[in-house]
Structures are given as C-alpha cells and as structure tokens.
C-alpha cells in the first residue's frame, strides 16, 4: 500500500476516533453540567441577575440623567 494512502487511512482513523471521543466526552460533561446546575439552589436568581445586567450600564446612565434633571428642576430653571 503506497505511503500516501496509508497516511490517509491513519489520518482517518485518528481523526474519526478523536472526533467521536471528544464529542462523546462533551456529551458526558454537558450532562454533568446540567445535573450539577440543577442541584444548585440559587440558579434562578443568578439567571435573573445576569439577564438584568445587560441594562445595568444603561441604568447607570439613566440614573445620572434623572439626578441631573432633578437638580435642574430643584433650582427652578
């Protein structure tokens, strides 16, 4: 068998086995991850938190604006 073909076969065997092993391992890890997270109680709160976080910067800016407006009004102009 020419070297080129044997090289190709080696590459195929290595490649497919690595791909399957890697993704199978990822299946296991993913299941483990989901299971672990389902055990943790604060899951809900944390999720909520991180959903809000996106707008926290905007809120900060909003806060600045609101205060500025309040100050301006308080001084009657």
């Amino acid at each position: 068998m020419p070297e080129l073909i044997s090289g190709g076969i080696t590459l195929m065997v290595m490649g497919m086995s690595t791909v399957f092993l890697f993704l199978a391992l990822l299946v296991v890890m993913t299941r483990l991850l989901s299971w672990l997270l389902s055990k943790l109680p604060e899951a809900k709160a944390a999720a909520d938190n991180s959903q809000n976080s996106a707008s926290s910067e905007q809120q900060n800016m909003l806060e600045v604006a609101v205060v500025a407006a309040a100050v301006t009004k308080a001084h009657g102009r």
Partner: protein
C-alpha cells in the same frame, strides 16, 4: 509622444491578457452571478468573485508586492487571522440551547465528520491513481470542505495547503449553498417513511447558566485533549461567551455585525486574490470540486445512518432526518431537515431538534481540523 501612447497601449489589457486570465474572469463573473441571481452565499461569493476579477486584470498589479489584495492576503489570510475573527462572530451568533437540551445529538455532529475523512481517502486515492497531484496535506485541506464550514476551511487551507486555498474555499461555499439540493435525495434514500415521520418531543428549557458555562466546558476539553483546536474553538467559545454572558452586549454586537462585516469584505477579497489563473486552472481544481461534492454526500449519509444506529440503543427514538444537519452549514442544513420532515408529516417540526446536531457539526469539524493541524505539526 507616439512612443508614450504605444507604451500605454502595450501595457493595456487588450494587448497583454492571457487566455487564462480571461477564463478566470469568467469564473469570477460566474461567482458574482451565482451570488446575485441565485443568492449562493452572497456574503462571501460576491467579494470572492470580485477579487477574482481584480487579481486577473493584467498589469493592474493588485496582487503584487505593494498591491491592496496582497496586503489583505498577508495580513489576514496567510496569518489565519480573518477566519479566527469570523469564528468569534459565528460563536456570538450561535445558540447552544437545543444542543444543551439534547446533548446526545452531539454524536450526530461527530458522525457527519466522516465526510471529511472519507474525502481525505478519496483525495489520496485520486493522487495514487495519478489523476492529480495532491500531497497528504492537500488531501487533508480538501477533506475539510466536508466540514461545511467556511472559516474552518479557509483556516485549514491557509495553514496546510495555501496554494489550494482559492478552489477549496469556492467549493466549500458553493456546496454549502447547494445543501438544499444535495441533501434531500440522500436523506430520503437512507430512511423509511416511518422513520421520517418520527415525532420528537419538545426540548426542555435550558437555563442561562448552562449556556454561560458550556463554552467554558468546551474550551476546557480542548485545552486538555486537543490544544491544536484551541485557536478555532477558543475564538468560537469566546464569541459565544460574550453573547451568553449578557454583560458585554456592545462587544457581542460588534463581533456579530460591524467587525464581522469588515472582516467578511476583506476575507472575500483576500480569498479572491488567491484565484489566479495558475492557481485555479488546473486539473486539481476539478478534483477538488468532485471531492467536495462527495464530502457533502458522505457527511450527510453518515449523519443519517448514525441517527439510525443510535435508535437501536435509546428509548425515545430520534428522527434520523436530523442526522444530516450534523454536517454544519448552519442554519441551512437544519432547515433542510425540517423541510424533509414536514414533507413526511406536516405536523412534524424538526427545526429546533436539528439545530443541536447542526451546531455540533461546527464543533466536530473544528475538532477534525485540530487533529489535522496536530498531525502535520
């Protein structure tokens, strides 16, 4: 003064163009036509086609030492930088939810990579028969077409077989656009009507936290087992983490839009600049086009058959039509699964189920790419 005119004319295209360049311009025009009139992956094929036109203008020197296309090519293609940033953007656009809800579909994404390695065998076979002259590196780069993932193909070709970058990229994007034509016959041939009618139960809701931690888990496995895949999967996971974390939305938005668009323009022109007559007009290109088609067919079939094999072991059967989505070509292949499923049973929405193997296919071909880089390093 007449002499000056003579010089001007003698440097003009009419006087110096070679038939090869003319042919390549037709190739460029064809790509542009397919992009505009047929909407074949226009985001890439339009810039590639136009780059092909520009690089083949005799005397323009746009690919020469101080030509624009040369700069683009050195900065972003040869370095591998552009495909990595595209991968970051793709990561920021990917939703791993369906995959997390049904992790075993990852195995469908693994099986479809058989398209890659089967094609490698095909390529070395062709070469052994003397039809073409592919080295093992060339064969590997050609095989990656079967990954049905543009940036991965460009990255691997730029690292392993730069001289074939043009035809490999064109083949990869063309066949990705042709997925709706290529896949259905194979899917139908390999399944019974009963199998195609299998209804899948609804996917569970996936928590935000799972989605945030998943890209880190992927990166961890890469770090432990396949560091050569780290550039591709690292940038992919980075983009995905930016998206799912929800705390850097302005960065994630730029990764998906502004930066992605800039790099896509450059990438297209840069790939186009590899489409010179010498690089494209040879029998090897025909071989690549033929092998690329084989790669898609084999990958599709392997995905479907893997699903059937899995059904021998699992309690709740899976519809084998979602196996074909494992080739990647996101989200086109998943839509094909959905469409063929609806033909069999018009209540059978497979789209979300097919998204799992679909994104698994992206990971799978990046892993395959990593094996190749490691093999040749």
């Amino acid at each position: 003064m007449l002499e000056n005119f003579a010089n001007l004319f003698s440097s003009s295209g009419l006087a110096t163009i070679e038939s090869g360049q003319l042919l390549m311009m037709l190739v460029g025009l064809t790509l542009i036509y397919l992009a505009i009139a047929r909407k074949f992956e226009p985001l890439l094929l339009l810039p590639i086609g136009f780059g092909t036109l520009l690089i083949n203008i005799p005397g323009a020197g746009m690919g020469g030492a101080d030509g624009l296309l040369h700069y683009i090519s050195v900065v972003g293609i040869k370095s591998g930088v552009f495909p990595l940033f595209i991968f970051m953007g793709v990561g920021a656009m990917t939703d791993f939810g369906p995959l997390l809800a049904n992790p075993k579909t990852l195995l469908l994404g693994a099986a479809a990579q058989f398209g890659i390695f089967g094609t490698v065998i095909g390529a070395v076979g062709m070469s052994s028969l003397g039809w073409v002259d592919f080295s093992l590196k060339d064969a590997a780069a050609i095989g990656i077409i079967g990954g049905a993932d543009g940036p991965t193909s460009i990255f691997i070709a730029s690292q392993l077989s730069p001289s074939l970058l043009g035809p490999i990229t064109v083949a990869a994007y063309s066949y990705m656009a042709l997925v709706p034509l290529i896949q259905p016959p194979i899917m139908k041939a390999l399944t019974t009507k009963a199998e195609r009618e299998i209804k899948m139960e609804q996917l569970r809701t996936v928590s935000k936290r799972e989605k945030i931690i998943f890209p880190i888990v992927v990166l961890f496995l890469v770090a432990m087992f396949l560091p050569s895949a780290a550039p591709l999967l690292g940038m992919f996971c980075f983009g995905n983490l930016m998206k799912e974390s929800g705390v850097v939305n302005r960065l994630s938005d730029t990764a998906q839009n502004g930066l992605m668009n800039i790099i896509t323009i450059m990438l297209g022109l840069g790939v186009g600049s590899q489409m010179s007559a010498e690089a494209f007009l040879k029998v090897e290109t025909l071989g690549i086009l033929a092998l690329g088609l084989v790669a898609f067919c084999v990958g599709t079939g392997a995905g479907v058959l893997m699903a059937k094999l899995m059904n021998l072991f699992v309690k709740i059967p899976i519809n084998p039509l979602i196996g074909s989505a494992g080739v990647s070509a996101v989200p086109m292949a998943a839509r094909v699964s959905n469409k063929v499923g609806l033909e069999a049973n018009h209540q059978n929405y497979l789209l979300m189920h097919a998204m799992g193997p679909n994104v698994a296919g992206v990971i799978g071909s990046a892993v395959a790419a990593g094996v190749m880089l490691s093999f040749f390093s």
